[in-house]
């Protein structure tokens, strides 16, 4: 038996099909991935993401430490703001991706659970010289509620003061209310909230939302939703061998000021030159409007503007898009690719290249 979140019994009671996810017993779906997906796009759904790892970073050196640790720059954060960042190794590969929240008293990082051990070891390793305290907050739960109705639904179950502050939140903003953190962040391409809260409060909120007919959503639809939104999954679309430039993360690499020596900076500078010269692979979205489903690991055959084969790419995430009713994928391909084919069950099939990001706020994003 794996580790269980505080909401484990709620999942069982709701008839979830449970799977092992990086050592955790997690719901893959509660009946139908597609139905859960549509509920999030059209109304709202709630996800238990308590398996993710929360680390609070406090101390007078917290800001300087995170400016060293992360490729995005926390100097840009005011209290109550959040940003997405990659954490790079010294060769510029991605150790993990994460969200960092600026709290009244320090910072909070939410990192992936599958990378917890190496993340914590890495963070510990670079702590020397900074006055910081790292505290894992594994007693806290995380509930994400996403979809057009999500904020109204959640606010109906919050104390009035918290509800008021929550309604006023803009995207990537958070409000701290005693031991709760309510943030306008998420992984679906819809508006919504992530609530980090004590376990007992989490079970009560989950139950209240369930009683209000909010659909629980499993990891299956979490994956189809994030892929429609064009968001990377760590371990699939990026890893320690991959430059963040090849995972569509250019805008999260903050190179100014030039004297901010973040981990991996030297490698990123070198990679940026290669990237701009077209020597590094790039991430693309792929669309297959014919029948069939693209899957991670499939080979992408790439052709340049002269229609000569210019190399091979790799499909890093693929699925059926319930919103678009055909298959979509993310792939890493040579920069000079102008058209490509995916090898589906042994047969090359022409696919369209589009910018990564297929659906936002329930609507198709490409022509």
């Amino acid at each position: 038996m794996g580790k269980q979140t505080p909401l484990y019994q709620q999942h069982i009671d709701a008839g979830a099909r449970m799977v092992d996810f990086a050592g955790w017993d997690m719901p893959i779906h509660y009946g139908s991935v597609i139905n859960e997906h549509h509920r999030v796009r059209q109304q709202c759904g709630m996800f238990d993401v308590s398996h993710m790892t929360i680390v609070d970073i406090t101390g007078t050196g917290a800001r300087g430490y995170l400016r060293r640790l992360l490729a995005n720059d926390v100097a840009r954060l005011e209290s109550g703001q959040a940003l997405y960042s990659a954490m790079l190794n010294e060769s510029g590969g991605v150790i993990d991706d994460l969200i960092v929240y600026r709290l009244a008293n320090g910072y909070r990082l939410v990192v992936n659970c599958a990378t917890r051990d190496k993340d914590l070891a890495w963070m510990e390793r670079w702590r020397a010289g900074f006055d910081v305290t790292l505290a894992e907050r594994d007693e806290l739960a995380i509930i994400a509620v996403h979809g057009p109705d999500s904020i109204d639904q959640v606010c109906a179950h919050l104390p009035e003061g918290v509800a008021q502050a929550t309604r006023e939140l803009k995207n990537f903003r958070a409000t701290e209310q005693e031991d709760w953190l309510v943030a306008r962040t998420g992984y679906t391409g819809e508006k919504g909230l992530e609530l980090i809260l004590p376990a007992s409060d989490a079970t009560a909120l989950w139950q209240a939302l369930l009683n209000a007919d909010v659909q629980p959503v499993g990891l299956g639809a979490r994956d189809t939703l994030r892929l429609e939104a064009g968001m990377n999954l760590y371990g699939q679309d990026m890893d320690e061998e991959i430059s963040p430039l090849s995972a569509n993360l250019r805008r999260t690499l903050i190179m100014e000021p030039a004297d901010r020596d973040f981990l991996g900076r030297e490698a990123v500078e070198h990679d940026l030159e290669r990237f701009e010269a077209g020597e590094l692979p790039v991430q693309t979205g792929l669309v297959l409007e014919e029948r069939g489903v693209m899957r991670a690991g499939q080979k992408v055959i790439c052709y340049d503007s002269a229609d000569e084969q210019c190399g091979e790419g790799i499909l890093t995430s693929g699925t059926f898009s319930p919103t678009l009713k055909h298959s979509i994928a993310l792939a890493r391909i040579p920069a000079n690719t102008s058209r490509c084919e995916v090898e589906l069950r042994g047969r090359p099939q022409a696919v369209r290249m589009v910018p990564p990001g297929f659906v936002r706020f329930g609507k198709k994003r490409f022509d």
């Binding site: 893959i28 139908s32 597609i34 029948r291 489903v293 059926f320 319930p322």
Partner: protein, 127 residues
């Protein structure tokens, strides 16, 4: 959990077979198989009029999660395919033994039918 009607025969690869009065067999995938696959989004049907050999891949079922081959439970000629599944593949999830049938085969070797499992043996196999 899964439901396995007693009047059907089953292959180890999760196909079911119903012997029809005209000597043909109707073939689909079991409730257990559809449950494992989850939401089915595409089905590549066998070719009507074609012939298949026992345990040969004859169809592909794709769900959100995975693609899965469907194997011929008996050898013979494909005499009918369920065209409705082209537009409504989810019928296999909702009605695996009735509306979600995949094809009908005219068996060329009836001894192969005897090698299939009954409901009890199949249920025991997947436990």
């Amino acid at each position: 959990m899964s439901d396995f009607p007693d009047d059907l025969k089953y292959a180890a690869t999760h196909e079911w077979v119903r012997l029809e009065e005209d000597g043909t067999v109707t073939v689909g995938i079991s409730d257990h198989a559809q449950e494992l696959l989850g939401d089915i989004v595409f089905i590549e049907l066998p070719e009507e009029g074609g012939t298949v050999a026992v345990r040969q891949e004859m169809s592909v079922v794709e769900s959100v999660k995975a693609a899965s081959d469907v194997y011929a439970p008996v050898s013979g000629e494909i005499v009918a395919v369920n065209e409705d599944l082209t537009d409504s593949p989810e019928v296999v999830n909702n009605s695996p033994y009735e509306d979600g049938w995949i094809c009908r085969i005219l068996p060329s070797d009836e001894t192969e039918l005897a090698e299939l499992m009954d409901a009890k043996a199949y249920a025991a196999q997947i436990e």
